[in-house]
Symmetry: C5
Subunit: 339 residues, 5 copies
Amino acid sequence: MTVTYSRRVADARLGTFSHLLLRWRGSIYKLLYKELIIFIIFYSGLSVMYRVLLNEEQRRLFEKLAINCDKYASLIPLSFVLGFYVALVVSRWWGQFESVPWPDRLGALVGGHVRGADESGRLIRRTLMRYANLSGVLIYRSVSTAVYKRFPTMEHVVQAGLMTAEELRQLEELPSPHNKFWVPCTWFVNLAMRARTEGRINNDVALSALLSELNTLRSQCTKLFSYDWISLPLVYTQVVTVAVYSFFLACLIGRQFLDPSQDYPGHDLDFYVPVFTLLQFFFYVGWLKVAEQLINPFGEDDDDFETNWLVDRNLQVSLLVVDEMYDGVPQVERDKYWD
Amino acid sequence: MTVTYSRRVADARLGTFSHLLLRWRGSIYKLLYKELIIFIIFYSGLSVMYRVLLNEEQRRLFEKLAINCDKYASLIPLSFVLGFYVALVVSRWWGQFESVPWPDRLGALVGGHVRGADESGRLIRRTLMRYANLSGVLIYRSVSTAVYKRFPTMEHVVQAGLMTAEELRQLEELPSPHNKFWVPCTWFVNLAMRARTEGRINNDVALSALLSELNTLRSQCTKLFSYDWISLPLVYTQVVTVAVYSFFLACLIGRQFLDPSQDYPGHDLDFYVPVFTLLQFFFYVGWLKVAEQLINPFGEDDDDFETNWLVDRNLQVSLLVVDEMYDGVPQVERDKYWD
Amino acid sequence: MTVTYSRRVADARLGTFSHLLLRWRGSIYKLLYKELIIFIIFYSGLSVMYRVLLNEEQRRLFEKLAINCDKYASLIPLSFVLGFYVALVVSRWWGQFESVPWPDRLGALVGGHVRGADESGRLIRRTLMRYANLSGVLIYRSVSTAVYKRFPTMEHVVQAGLMTAEELRQLEELPSPHNKFWVPCTWFVNLAMRARTEGRINNDVALSALLSELNTLRSQCTKLFSYDWISLPLVYTQVVTVAVYSFFLACLIGRQFLDPSQDYPGHDLDFYVPVFTLLQFFFYVGWLKVAEQLINPFGEDDDDFETNWLVDRNLQVSLLVVDEMYDGVPQVERDKYWD
Amino acid sequence: MTVTYSRRVADARLGTFSHLLLRWRGSIYKLLYKELIIFIIFYSGLSVMYRVLLNEEQRRLFEKLAINCDKYASLIPLSFVLGFYVALVVSRWWGQFESVPWPDRLGALVGGHVRGADESGRLIRRTLMRYANLSGVLIYRSVSTAVYKRFPTMEHVVQAGLMTAEELRQLEELPSPHNKFWVPCTWFVNLAMRARTEGRINNDVALSALLSELNTLRSQCTKLFSYDWISLPLVYTQVVTVAVYSFFLACLIGRQFLDPSQDYPGHDLDFYVPVFTLLQFFFYVGWLKVAEQLINPFGEDDDDFETNWLVDRNLQVSLLVVDEMYDGVPQVERDKYWD
Amino acid sequence: MTVTYSRRVADARLGTFSHLLLRWRGSIYKLLYKELIIFIIFYSGLSVMYRVLLNEEQRRLFEKLAINCDKYASLIPLSFVLGFYVALVVSRWWGQFESVPWPDRLGALVGGHVRGADESGRLIRRTLMRYANLSGVLIYRSVSTAVYKRFPTMEHVVQAGLMTAEELRQLEELPSPHNKFWVPCTWFVNLAMRARTEGRINNDVALSALLSELNTLRSQCTKLFSYDWISLPLVYTQVVTVAVYSFFLACLIGRQFLDPSQDYPGHDLDFYVPVFTLLQFFFYVGWLKVAEQLINPFGEDDDDFETNWLVDRNLQVSLLVVDEMYDGVPQVERDKYWD
């Protein structure tokens, strides 16, 4: 369920973005609150320990430790590594969105070039579009957890009307251990060739345009498959995670309020609640959460792509275009600016 | 109303950019002054409180608090997160501009390939272009607040001459819950096929070129729809907002002028007006405003795309090209460099 | 007048770049020296004031002020904001260069596909290319100050042989308030259609290729128009300018040499000439100048695109290709490696 | 063997990324542990030397040296140079992945346009696809160590069924010292021309589409060749390596725990184990390892592209599409949403 | 002579990159050692002066100067400006490589579509490819110093068999002051048209494909020309150079070892050899050298593109494809997986 807020930020007014801070769905609060609670529990535990449990000597030691930790925390270039990493994740995220196949263009060509309002013509057009949609669904099943939940078995795909039982049988009979999302594309080609032979597609240029458009869809499916297959190298993600986590581990100790009476520089006041550290937590972990949310946009996060909606929309629009609307044009009349 | 200043900066002269500082429309001042006033009010309030209301002991506490806040403020890597975030917003902003559909290319093909100076030929050409423009307007209505205000109902679109009443009826009868911007594209295809059958388009290559160009327009509309649908993840925007706001919250206290007589380092002078903090406010919040303004360029900011102008321009130019100028070439004569 | 120095830096040798420091045209010195003089005057003024005019007490105050200013100056993340901003400006600059229309590709097609060595054939080919060039010139007139100076009125365009008086008349008669750079493109299409009808272009594939190539040129013109129309948001430019200017305002005071006898840390030596601050001025303002120079590359800066040269070159080459060289091939003979 | 973890990070939950820290294959630990051990050995050695072997005077000297080293280490902008360098390496890495040739699109065209279910037709289609696959394998042999190991001689390619002995003979007879990956492409063209002459490809548009698709594959092979040929400039890699290594050399000495009794600032505690330095090592060297792993993704790292799998998959799918599935369409029947 | 090291870094092992440090060709040492020697000489000179020549008072002054210089050096954001600048140079470098014209694709089309094994057919095909290669060489002569040295006059090009004397005569007779790299492209078009008229190219689609492919080559040549013509703005290069040079000027003085007996902070040890400063020199100047080497990749640096090799390879492969291999296909036989 994508979180759309474009309309809220259409104009730059007083505190345009501040309104966004009050949202819950897809928000930083919803994503962070558990981590925050854990951080607070540990911080409080250490705080209580320092203030209550330790004896005088242990406290002096703890204080030195805290000052060291604080110094270390400041050495970690979190903003750098997060900046570069998140930029990379965001560019992959958008790359994935641009690989999402929309059958609209293909529908326009099928609806235009495959002639005939009789049942056979309708059957061919509908089947062609169903194949194009089916390819998308097959690839979604392998990359999107949401679509997979909706179609846990291929039977579900048949029941949803995206393929026939016979098609499923043929698909499964095909002796290939690899992902078969391209099979419906092949059927599409074969059916299109047949339509050309029968004269329903009446010229070679149109046929070529159809196949080329189909290949575009197929390439997009391949790209989705590739993005899923070739993750961002694990090491990079681990490096970033280690950096963020070790920063806040250091903060757990290093940001404790030390006894002001000991006169450590910068420790002359005891607020009990480390407001600024919590804000930093908010800020840095929130930045990491941006990456966690976008690294696989085909999950069920608030901000992930609504693939199931796409499946429905694309099938409905495809069939509309090539069947109900086939050859339909409103009465052509003079427009308002005629002469 | 886009703010164009290219001409003012054509040449790099003494202080080329300094002239730009004197502008009001679309300027940092216009965007910021309210926030600035609020910041000043709070800052002054705290200042008065510190100077007048607090007793000696409270002031000592406030001073320590201020020094802590100042230290924290310096820990927030505002420039990093703003740099990366604004870079992202700017790239989406330009991506959106590049998705704005211009029907010029399509007009050239329609004007060239759809033959016939009789009424029927004119009707077809004008209608085809009207459909292409209508698709754009339908998508604008869903992404642009400015266009939506101009055409609050579909009736307004009819009145503006972009579609006929009959077309609106058919559009609304279509049983689909999804955005219907693609419907005029389908009509375009069907009408073009009819023109081909009637021989007004006299070859298949031309027909294919027409459909392919139309599909380009359609893809651009889809892209605008997508940019509107898939906002930048809310979390990212919130992270940046939290960072900027908490920075200036910390500054409210941390940048107060403390009693010079207390000899805090860096607090040996009381200017009353925190010139530098205000400049920083200008600078950082201004940077954030760049993002606020560009994140949705289809609003009514000074710097947003003039979609309404585009609607008018595109319709006028489309009709000119395919009708008034149809088949018109100035007398072909020898040019100046002939032999 | 573009400053080309590729050849000077072909090889990385001892101090390859250092030779470039000695150039004047398009150099940092030429762009900066006025700003530098102004900065020096103000700096000296303040210096004299501090050393001569102020009394003891005022000097103490000034010293504190200076130390504060210096501290502030170090808080402005100039390199960040300049880095991101200049990266953006540079990418737009190159984007604009890539949008500059070269009619070479179109010339190849016109020269090949429009047959006939008789006067009529020559006329058509020359006129087609003239139209393509004219579109470019019309768009240059609206975006480039250099071209505009060369052709202040449309009459000048006629005199330069780029259009005929009759064409100008028709262009001006066209009832459209919008930029008309696309009109010659429409003429091109209409003339090409006529050539097809007359059989001078003897197949539809060629015609389609011609129109598609023309549309590419047209899109480039539209892109130049767009870059001119949609400037980088004013706010961004203002933010950067404010940052740079306020940095150097702070430096004017903050980098004064204070009385060494007062023992301020880092102020134990009085050089009179703030060499390092001047170098910083050079460096940061120079970086800003990069942006000033590139933000509109169609001006008359040393480093701006030589649009007038392009106009001449493109027309000459276009006519050569489609006329003088029409159907010309050197005697085809066996090459050196034959068998 | 690519490490895929997309499914593990589908949803942003509590500590999504933290689960990834427990993986071994392709992990930072597996890549780093040897370097880490070496670092620890040297560090311990120096530590023992300082604590045990040195006399009083030498220890004072060592302490001063350590403080200097620590100061220097902080001057190296590791995060900058790593950030920019890794961003570059990652973009090349993905560029290489996008250049990997998939013969699927070509298969669709060959399966569609080359007609005939007889042996001769099948032979042509299978051979065409084999040529396309062979080109890929030839280029893989020259860029991928994994594929080279699988096919150490061309004989192995023949045995794997990717080419015939006769083809190998002709390939080797060809008098060219350069990489011959393009030879099968030329055979493809020649065979396709023959199929056109024989009427198995029955129109010129289809032929052109086939050749154009083949050329796309060929360009991708050329790109893989180029990426291999034109490495990232050695200097850049050396600069980054020098920076990282000299940073940790400085750390070896600079991060030693000095005798707390000497009261050096920041050295008031002796932990023996430099936890934070080790974390930094993890972090920075891990970042460098990202680059080491991605700079040539055709090796045998855990995260490198599985080229051998690709070779098998592509051949199998190619043959399936153009042979087994030739002209096959499941029974076309009414779908669930029919009327 | 490109330095290829992909194979050395195929796998990320213990210290993968460290092996690269031992290379000389194209290495940082080879590029830097002269600069380094100069730096060392000046540094030593100043060191000797300070230690030997100056009197007590002058040394105190020098020490203050040194401390100031050191402070300044730390103010220059070298890593920033180098990071952004080098990123830009690298992207142009790769952009130039991608503009290098490879005639392979064109060769495939010429070899396929231009029919006839007789002398005339061979002549046409060879000549067409020679023209394509010639265009590349003409552009290389104007951008690449290496190619220019190989072909200092056009006579050399004739002798190398890339053009005939007659072609050179016609090229030189052409009345145009501009770069004439496009002339062979025009000949190509004219010769292709002739071949079409004679029926050697037997359909219009093929002709169009040929011309379009040629135009792609031509655009690449134009792009190489443009990269050479439109250098990176001189100011940017100067800004970076000034920054790096002034940094090391400041280091010359600022990084001198001062008399430890004076107790300046951070100056308590005299190593004589400023190891860390030298490493920084290595690092920063090395980074600048990356830019120096890549800014014009058509020179004769170790890492520049091997354009002369390309000229030879392209001509040889072109002729092979269109002549020796014309119409040649190995005996088509059943592959290993048949049934």
